[in-house]
């Protein structure tokens, strides 16, 4: 058992090249806070990106930031905050839900394509990612994309790297398009809606020009009653105007309470983003991606102990009994289910990622064989 901690991209290249030559599998780790996502990794040695740290370029006027993969996410977010900017996709913090410790890194965010409630409006991590540098499974350093937000030069490997969980290469540097932070935020809170009505309410909100940037529903809210949350962000006057118009447009779902306290609204969305409702609760956690109107069908089909809807109903978090495979119950509903939290034995028995149709599985296997011919990068993590 060995932990490699390269200090530069060329060190990283050397480390992976040696592992390739010796056919030694490696577990790739950033901050280690999402280490249990995916299947158990079959590797004795660990490769940490913690030594590749620091923001390499930040141009607020160009809405661009570039950082080494091991840079703590908090450092990136603090640098952006100082210029009133932010990562648009609101990355989830998995620590409470998974019961992990450590500092999330920006490379880990990319490797797991981690996004949050704003994802359905501004896109996922992969949509803000504009460039990567990585070392493939033979130790070759590769760049793709760059630091400009419009780039169609060659294939978009940037997208492929986002969410590849270290199985295609070890990220050394990532670049993002960022957005202005918003001055003000208000949340419309509807109480007592059924799951079906709540999703109808959220979908109706998205079919307005009022730029809703968060739409979540808790069948069991913090006070035990159902609550539906709609977020508006922007300049203060604009938010107030849109809150009024949106309430009018959704009047048939009830009269919403409007919450504008910055601490309370931030805490509310963190609760959704990090699925705090399931933190520390016994049971397995699944994450199901469907079209929003199918959200309630998912919850009904599975009969879960706990449900949290985000993305207007398109993201369904489910808390179920340990060792339950929910996929058979979801047959016939288009989308996919990912096992997020379970014991190692469950994760070894039930594939964490939704099995792909045969022709796509063949493409995936082909790509992995090209990027990592010896199969040394996070073997087992994505199957």
């Amino acid at each position: 058992m060995m932990t490699l901690q390269p200090r530069s991209e060329s060190d990283l290249s050397e480390a992976v090249a040696s592992a390739y030559a010796a056919k030694t599998p490696l577990e790739i780790v950033g901050g280690g806070t999402r280490r249990t996502l995916g299947g158990p990794v079959q590797a004795a040695d660990t490769l940490s990106t913690a030594g590749l740290s620091g923001i390499t370029l930040y141009e607020p006027g160009a809405l661009t930031i570039v950082a080494q993969a091991g840079t703590p996410l908090a450092e990136v977010e603090a640098a952006l905050k100082a210029e009133n900017q932010r990562l648009p996709f609101e990355p989830m913090d998995h620590r409470a839900l998974l019961g992990t410790e450590g500092e999330p890194t920006i490379g880990g965010v990319v490797a797991a394509n981690v996004s949050g409630p704003r994802r359905f409006q501004v896109g996922a991590c992969r949509d803000s990612l504009i460039g990567v540098r990585y070392v493939d499974g033979q130790g070759t350093a590769i760049k793709n994309g760059g630091r400009v937000m419009k780039n169609v030069t060659g294939y978009d490997i940037v997208k492929l790297m986002a969410g590849s969980y270290g199985t295609l290469g070890v990220l050394s540097e990532v670049s993002f398009k960022v957005l202005p932070d918003t001055a003000h935020s208000s949340v419309l809170l509807f109480e007592g809606l059924s799951d079906v009505d709540a999703v109808a309410c959220m979908c109706a909100a998205m079919a307005t020009p009022y730029e809703v940037s968060g739409a979540a529903h808790l069948p069991v809210g913090m006070d035990g009653a159902p609550v539906t949350m709609l977020r508006l962000e922007g300049f203060e006057k604009s938010v107030a105007y849109r809150a009024g118009e949106l309430a009018k447009a959704l009047a048939h779902f009830g009269t919403p309470k409007v919450e504008s306290d910055p601490d309370k609204t931030a805490a509310g969305w963190r609760y959704i983003r990090d699925v705090e409702a399931f933190a520390g609760q016994p049971g397995d956690v699944w994450r199901v991606s469907v079209k929003p109107t199918d959200g309630p069908k998912v919850a009904a089909a599975v009969g879960a102990q706990g449900v949290v809807y985000d993305w207007s109903g398109g993201l369904v978090w489910l808390l179920v009994g340990e060792g339950t495979d929910i996929r058979p119950a979801l047959a016939g509903i288009a989308g996919h289910a990912t096992l997020i939290r379970a014991s190692a034995s469950t994760r070894a028995a039930i594939p964490a990622f939704h099995p792909e149709a045969a022709p796509l599985a063949k493409v995936t296997a082909g790509l992995r064989a090209q990027f990592d011919p010896a199969g040394i990068l996070n073997p087992g993590r994505m199957g």
Binding site: P60, R126, R147, V148, K150, D156, P209, A334, L360
Partner: protein
């Protein structure tokens, strides 16, 4: 511009290939007479032409699958074609290829406002996607200039952008799923009405792959509700550098305009002569547009105009009516036409970091003098996507080559300052031989290996994107014995 020599073995079997295609397609969907194949000899990069061996016009996914299976078995290269509006030569045929046109695949398959999606066949034009959802006040956001004519298939192949991507993103950010046919005829479904991929982001690599990985026949697209309104402000500056600084300050102020368009003096003068939009006599002109209700627009524009004032504009004009908005946009929208009135032009598409704008414009001006060719700049300033228009005379021997050399120098400059060769048009054949200026051999090899997985025999649009020298061994004809 070099294209691979046609494979005589394939040409000798033309009759057999046509015969087989006729077994799976109606007679009028197989075009093989020389006089008729000429219609497909080029796309919007008209300097290069070559009629294909055959052109086919399938009407559904099954027919596309049948065509590809046959071509795969026969070892015939296939060049997919949307509406043929590529400025990069993405749909340029070779003499031994089958052009697969998706023009007959133009149905709307599903509109779903609750889930904010539309599913269309890929030959449908960009603007008619919006047309299909307009009555409910929805729209499809990516808006390339050719949107009246260009097909969704081509938009996906090139990951097309448009004037409004600063706010709404480009095609890849608005594409949720595709039905795609692989070169061997296998039909795959990637993505759908839901978000995110179950495993590797295959949709992400398909989008922007210039028709080299598969033929997309259906697409699920994100649709959005239209904003309540939009209004532009026009500002003129006597210095490119000041205009560039103003753009950066607007972005830093926390306002996110839906578009920031930039025109330089040669372009302003040409459009004034042509469209008489009443633009000021100045070095640089910005059009900044914001969206929202009237009050929201007022609030955002007041922030933007304060910033503009701090940079001493020679003109600052806020639109007060739809008519005034149209007047502000009139010159910008006719810029390409105006430049075309003066002479033939070549439109480039490099992207640069916004901070490099003044330097790059100055260098382009210097190079323009060195080459003796005029150039006008009109582009999306918010995202750094430049569109230098180089004027040349197609009838003057040597002028096209001179223009291409000038264009190549500008694109190399874009790469040198941290940008890229193409922001939204694609590589095609136009920028193919400049790829080594952007990528080293390893970077390039990583991309070639992806095509090896999707299309091991390199039959799909094989002579595009990558320099022929690096793809030669992979493209070695494998015509059936």
């Amino acid at each position: 511009m070099e294209m691979p020599a046609p494979d005589a073995r394939i040409l000798s079997r033309k009759a057999q290939v046509v015969q087989r295609l006729l077994t799976v397609l109606p007679k009028d969907a197989v075009i093989h007479e020389e006089a008729e194949t000429r219609a497909y000899e080029c796309d919007a990069l008209t300097a290069y032409r070559c009629p294909p061996m055959v052109a086919v016009l399938p009407s559904n996914t099954q027919e596309v699958s049948d065509v590809l299976r046959i071509c795969h078995q026969e070892g015939v290269p296939v060049v997919p074609r949307g509406s043929g509006t590529s400025l990069a030569g993405g749909a340029l045929p070779t003499a031994d290829c089958v052009i697969l046109g998706v023009a007959r695949l133009n149905d709307v398959l599903e509109t779903d406002y609750d889930n904010r999606i539309i599913k269309v066949q890929s030959g449908r034009t960009n603007l008619s996607v919006t047309g299909a959802v307009e009555e409910e006040d929805f729209f499809y956001a990516p808006d390339p200039s050719s949107q009246l004519a260009c097909a969704i298939a081509g938009n996906i192949a090139m990951n097309s952008g448009g004037a409004h991507c600063l706010k709404y993103g480009v095609t890849t950010n608005n594409l949720l799923g595709v039905t795609m046919v692989m070169m061997d005829g296998t039909v795959v479904e990637v993505g759908g009405a839901h978000l995110d991929a179950p495993g590797l982001d295959l949709l992400g690599i398909i989008c922007g792959s210039e028709g080299q990985l598969g033929v997309v026949t259906e697409a699920t697209l994100r649709i959005l509700h239209k904003p309540e309104g939009a209004r532009p402000v026009l500002m003129g500056f006597d210095d490119n550098e000041v205009a560039g600084a103003c753009v950066a300050d607007i972005i830093k102020a926390g306002v996110l305009p839906v578009a920031i368009e930039f025109m330089d003096r040669p372009c302003i003068e040409a459009t004034e002569k042509f469209a008489k939009a009443g633009y000021p006599d100045c070095e640089a002109l910005l059009i900044v547009e914001v969206e929202g209700s009237d009050a929201e627009i007022d609030e955002q524009l007041s922030v933007i105009m304060d910033i503009a004032r701090s940079h001493n504009p020679v003109e600052l004009r806020e639109s007060k009516s739809p008519m005034e908005s149209a007047a502000i946009w009139k010159g910008r929208k006719s810029a390409f036409g105006a430049m075309g009135q003066i002479n033939d032009y070549m439109c480039l598409d490099g992207t640069i970091p916004v901070s490099q704008l003044p330097f790059v414009l100055r260098r382009i001006g210097e190079m323009s003098k060195e080459y003796g060719l005029k150039v006008g700049n009109v582009f999306h300033a918010g995202d750094g996507n430049m569109h230098p228009l180089i004027l040349f005379d197609a009838n003057k021997p040597g002028d096209l080559e001179l223009c291409e050399a000038f264009g190549a120098d500008i694109l190399k400059l874009c790469v040198e300052v941290g940008g890229c060769l193409t922001g939204e048009h694609g590589v095609g054949i136009e920028k193919r031989d400049l790829m080594f200026d952007q990528f080293n051999p390893e970077d390039m090899e990583a991309q070639l290996k992806i095509k090896d997985v999707f299309d091991p025999q390199w039959l799909l649009n094989p002579a595009k994107v990558f320099p022929l020298s690096v793809t030669e061994t992979r493209r070695t004809p494998i015509a059936a014995e």
